[in-house]
Symmetry: C2
Subunit: 394 residues, 2 copies
């Protein structure tokens, strides 16, 4: 009966996370619309980066580690996550998107979901073991609500902590929080983009081998992305001592890159291109361009998440692979969407569930193989470096 | 690159398991048809039980532990599973169903899948660590192919070993074997029953609370089933010293019970009633009758599996719960189908994936909640007593 007490607690965590995700999604829609209507905003990306850097330097030192701080706290509970994580990451993400950084939103949703949930542990005087569970529930609720995928969100909160193993301690609170979070975001009348995998052939040997081949490519790109982003970050730290100047420099480079190639296709969330990757053949270099823009944006210290860019990279890469593999472009786009993420976040089961929730059960079978293979080929250092190794991959 | 060597190995395990599952499914169709056309076969159930008992006493002592032997070998590899496990369990299951025992088939598929896979480890001189992985792949392939659900099968082979935790060591081989097994069974032109959840309302608070309530009932029934079957078995062992007489006695009781209530509805696999539970309202006691017939059949030593009867118990119980809960009968039938199994086998994630594969992603959301809650309320001793406890449920 102990368990039932998690119903109100996880529900509350879900309501908080879902509300924060609704606010985030509305603010990102606003930022995207403003940026598209006022292209000159891009010229302010460098100073905007400086503002984000200063914000975190003066108010956010304790929460700068972001998603990794959450994962560390779950592994080893020390102190309640400061509430300021929520406004800072929401504001930082809004600024990043308003002025044209290439970034995502799941990092933001995880941070708001977990930091808000953790505030409940103060009045309730939760023991560390229960704080951990509540934090995991907050992560699940944040992920579920920002993407509209409760099953994937529920498992993500369990799976992201360690590579190669999954513990069910927080299974029930994560499920409740994920569904409560998703319902809350929808109750705020915030809708999620729909992606349509238009044709799924019956699974056969050729389909399985193609999924394995695609999964290998997705995994290698996921590994390259995580390493490149870390390398950009390490390079910036080595050469730019004053932290707020790093996103300033990053902003200059992103702005120059946009001007050099003459398109804004690779900045922001990139939802229109993701949607297009399910509908039509796209340039085969789309994934590479998004890869570089995102590594530059996030590596230099802008805020947001990695996952929506990973969806972009994966779905356009999948689309490109349809030139080589005998599967429909929209199916490969769907497989890449989840599988590059599976490799980079080391979350194959959550990613498979996400494919099922977004694209249906038939596409989910192909996506499942691609996610597992991508996970195996993406190495042991993903986008969350606080993740521990539960079981080595090989 | 080590990993890629699992492709041929797991594929071979899948082909063997899928072929055995095809043979099993064809033989069970034959047994069911014969029994329905020749109702007098039921009068031979007791002597048939004696035959099964004698078979295992004289030829099957080394494999009598069945699915639990497989799980034990995976935890602690000692010696290759004797090949005879496969013909004995196929024959034992055929006899059980031909003469009217109430049993399933997943136990059979797991045993044929794993024991056939294990034969590969002799010529290949696999180290114990690799034998374990191959056994898990065999379990996945058997489960996937007998039910036509590759994602659920893949995860089942990982999840069934321990309660409350899941390790990814064998993730890739289990996926490959599961898909290869499923494709093989289909290549033998063996088809699976289709179940149709006819209406799924959008998830809302009432739906979530109803799913939790249903999940509690499903979990308690799952616990009661596992305990009753174990209790029947312990009782039979205490009072009937000569093992082959136990299924003989069980056969007499099942035969008398059928004659007393005047229907064959609760013997065999019971597929027609499961299908009906998705289509129309059924008597509310159906689940209880199937529960007793199955506990009596399996507890006294007939062969087969627990899972199809659990699907029957769950889907008819779900159907009955639609009198109390504000969800459609066919949706509750689908939820019960997977959730009683989730509780009894302690496999909530595989069961959720099964719901998605059989009933679609929308029903999967409800089923996911029901499976997690059922898992939490089913206690720590499920139908596989060799299962270890990775993490206590509460």
């Amino acid at each position: 009966m102990q368990l039932l007490r998690w119903i109100p607690l996880a529900t509350l965590a879900g309501i908080l996370a879902g509300t924060a995700s609704a606010l985030l999604l509305v603010s990102l829609n606003l930022a995207t619309t403003l940026r598209e209507n006022h292209p000159w905003l891009l010229y302010l990306l460098a100073p905007a980066g400086l503002v984000v850097g200063l914000l975190y330097r003066h108010f956010g030192a304790s929460v700068e580690a972001g998603s990794n701080l959450i994962i560390d706290e779950i592994h080893n509970p020390q102190a309640v996550i400061p509430l300021r994580m929520t406004p800072l990451i929401l504001l930082g993400t809004f600024i990043t998107h308003l002025f044209g950084g290439s970034a995502g939103r799941e990092g933001t949703a995880i941070q708001t979901g977990a930091s808000l949930a953790d505030q409940l542990s103060i009045p309730l005087r939760l023991a560390p073991a229960n704080r951990r569970i509540l934090l995991m529930a907050g992560v699940s609720a944040g992920f579920a609500s920002v993407f509209g995928t409760p099953l994937a969100g529920a498992v993500f909160g369990l799976e992201v902590l360690a590579i190669g193993s999954l513990s069910y301690e927080a299974l029930f609170p994560c499920f409740i929080a994920a569904f409560a979070g998703d319902l809350t975001t929808r109750a705020w009348h915030v809708h999620h983009t729909l992606y349509q995998v238009s044709s799924v052939p019956a699974v056969d040997v050729r389909g399985i081998l193609s999924s394995i081949a695609a999964g290998i490519v997705f995994g290698l790109i996921a590994m390259a992305f995580a390493r490149t982003t870390h390398a950009v970050s390490a390079f910036a730290k080595r050469h730019i001592a004053y932290a707020p100047l790093r996103p300033f420099a990053g902003g200059i480079l992103v702005t120059l890159a946009v001007l050099a190639i003459g398109t804004t296709r690779y900045i922001g969330l990139g939802i229109p291109t993701i949607v297009a990757s399910f509908q039509t053949r796209l340039p085969i270099y789309d994934f590479a361009a998004k890869f570089l823009f995102t590594a530059l944006t996030l590596g230099t210290g802008f805020k947001g998440g990695e996952v929506t860019p990973l969806f972009f990279i994966g779905s356009t890469l999948g689309n490109a692979l349809s030139n080589l593999l005998p599967l429909p472009p929209s199916l490969l786009a769907g497989m890449g969407f989840v599988a590059v993420f599976a490799g980079a976040a080391n979350t194959p089961i959550a990613s498979t569930l996400m494919a099922v929730e977004l694209f249906g059960a038939e596409a989910g079978a192909y996506a499942g193989i691609a996610c597992v293979v991508s996970y195996l080929f993406s190495g042991h250092s993903g986008i969350y470096h606080a993740q521990r190794i539960g079981n080595s991959k090989y």
